[in-house]
């Protein structure tokens, strides 16, 4: 293939875009829209996941040691807990530390009010137990209840971890469900987008089949015919990715925070988290669609 041909193909590709302005711009806009939907989805999923991670403190049970338990037994209890299935981390908190931790959950004014009602440190020595799988929390809970030397007056203790776990269980299953839905929606969207893109490009090629057929009649080889279309495909792909990327940036940075209101105040991930992956993804989709789809849909007109 000659150099002059290559320049010719590039020029022809650009001319093709300009001269078939309606078709080209429709393709570019459809491609960009599809990418935008995918991108928005992606960023939303990433934000949901990151938010969900912040819910992880649910995997914690506080176990209060009965006041009459001596130090040796307390330590022994710690070891017993550590040996239990599903337990990942056990921290001992003295009465004072436990109270401090508790108070930290409140802001200044709340703490002032709270302390007013609760004059004395009401907490005993405590074990903070972190565990891995929320699904297996109920067995763990009963194992813990059977330990001797903990505050056996289970009336509130039992209530406490149980209800936390109850909710944690729900949240966890909800979290899994959402992730699953998101992933599947993303896959469906991806398939549909590709489908839409393929069809759009097929339409573009279809609208120019006359041109392709005439090329054959004046003795053009298949590769000669396909080349300018591939260049066009590349241009379309690159342009659409650029447009999609720009819009995505704008949407994410300026529009999304307003849209989400309250939720966003907990802080969206910065756009830079996605910039690289989105750029790569958009370019891949764009180029794939532009090149593969256009050369594939031409094939049948090359038979004439």
């Amino acid at each position: 293939m000659r150099i002059s041909n290559i320049f010719y193909f590039i020029k022809q590709g650009f001319l093709g875009i300009i001269r078939n302005a309606v078709m080209s711009s429709a393709s570019i806009l459809i491609l960009a829209s599809s990418m935008l939907v995918l991108g928005t989805f992606w960023t939303v999923i990433a934000n949901i996941n990151s938010y969900m991670d912040s819910l992880d403190e649910l995997n914690v049970i506080l176990l209060y040691i009965a006041p009459e338990t001596d130090e040796a037994r307390t330590e022994q209890i710690g070891d017993e807990i550590r040996a239990m299935d599903n337990v990942t981390n056990v921290t001992f908190l003295s009465k004072e530390e436990a109270w401090e931790l508790e108070l930290q959950k409140y802001d200044e004014t709340q703490r002032a009010i709270f302390e007013q009602f609760v004059k004395l440190n009401p907490l005993p020595d405590t074990y903070k137990i972190e565990f891995a799988e929320i699904e297996k929390s109920t067995p763990l809970l009963f194992q813990l209840s059977s330990i001797e030397g903990i505050d056996l007056d289970l009336k509130e203790q039992g209530k406490n971890p149980k209800s936390v776990i109850d909710i944690a269980n729900k949240v966890e299953s909800f979290k899994n469900g959402i992730s699953m839905i998101c992933v599947w929606l993303l896959i469906i969207l991806l398939v549909v987008s590709f489908f839409v893109i393929m069809n759009t490009i097929r339409l573009t090629v279809f609208s120019r089949k006359q041109e392709i057929i005439i090329m054959r009649y004046v003795g053009a080889t298949s590769s000669f015919i396909v080349a300018p279309f591939v260049v066009e495909g590349i241009i379309i792909g690159v342009l659409s990715s650029a447009i999609a990327y720009g819009l995505q940036y704008y949407l994410y940075t300026y529009v999304m925070p307003d849209m989400l209101g309250n939720f966003a105040s907990t802080g969206l991930l910065p756009f830079s988290e996605f910039s690289r992956i989105l750029a790569i993804a958009f370019l891949t989709v764009g180029l794939f669609a532009g090149i593969v789809a256009s050369s594939m849909s031409m094939r049948k007109y090359l038979k004439a």
Partner: protein
């Protein structure tokens, strides 16, 4: 060297456009093909460039045997001939200049060669001043002449013209056929499909007359309605 041996062509809808055609055209010949509307003249040219495949018989064009040519070879067959189509077949989205240049581009000519030869041909068909127009901005005769220039641009061994004078005035018709005869003198084969009785009668060349898909007469120095 073109050789039809017992060639028949039936279109998918059942129309028999050509039946048992035997015709041989030597290199450097000049042939008029005449016949009533729907006789099969265009079909004959379509077979030559393999726009349509022959249904039976055998057809040779130079070194290509068209009944068994591979698809990848077809472009090279087509480069051996320059065709003026009855319906012009110009690229709607290319200018006059580009339409002609494209035929050279296709066979890999350099920009230099293209820039030299295209203006020469546009001049020949009197369209130098309209080289930047698009086909829809041209009159019928002008479009036909663009097609003509494109057919000649690669200096092909065989020139096939389907009604090259259908849309031009008598003066221009004479000039076009004159040009074809001059080209023919350079040892090119020229095949002209035409209805223009006066032209055929005037030039006294070989005339092949087709009627209902069969060759009904084939005379050198023939007249349009000599049969």
């Amino acid at each position: 060297m073109i050789e039809f041996k017992n060639v028949s062509k039936t279109y998918p809808n059942g129309t028999v456009a050509l039946r048992n055609v035997n015709l041989s055209i030597a290199d450097g010949e000049f042939v008029f093909i005449v016949g009533h509307s729907g006789a099969g003249k265009t079909t004959l040219t379509k077979l030559l460039m393999r726009e349509e495949c022959i249904t039976s018989g055998s057809l040779r064009v130079n070194n290509y045997r068209l009944e068994k040519i591979r698809r990848s070879k077809v472009p090279y067959l087509r480069r051996e001939m320059g065709v003026v189509f009855q319906d012009f077949r110009l690229f709607d989205n290319m200018t006059v200049y580009e339409n002609v240049a494209f035929a050279m581009r296709v066979i890999g000519e350099s920009n230099r060669a293209i820039n030299k030869r295209v203006p020469y041909l546009l001049n020949l068909v009197n369209l130098a001043d309209k080289c930047d127009r698009f086909p829809h901005e041209l009159s019928g005769g002008e479009q036909q002449r663009v097609a003509f220039a494109r057919a000649l641009v690669n200096n092909p061994k065989i020139i096939i013209a389907d009604e090259p004078t259908g849309n031009v005035d008598p003066q221009m018709s004479l000039e076009i056929i004159d040009l074809l005869i001059r080209i023919n003198k350079l040892d090119k084969t020229v095949i002209v499909v035409t209805h223009e009785k006066s032209l055929v009668d005037y030039f006294k060349k070989r005339v092949v007359c087709i009627g209902d898909g069969c060759i009904v007469s084939d005379k050198i120095g023939g007249m349009y309605d000599a049969h």
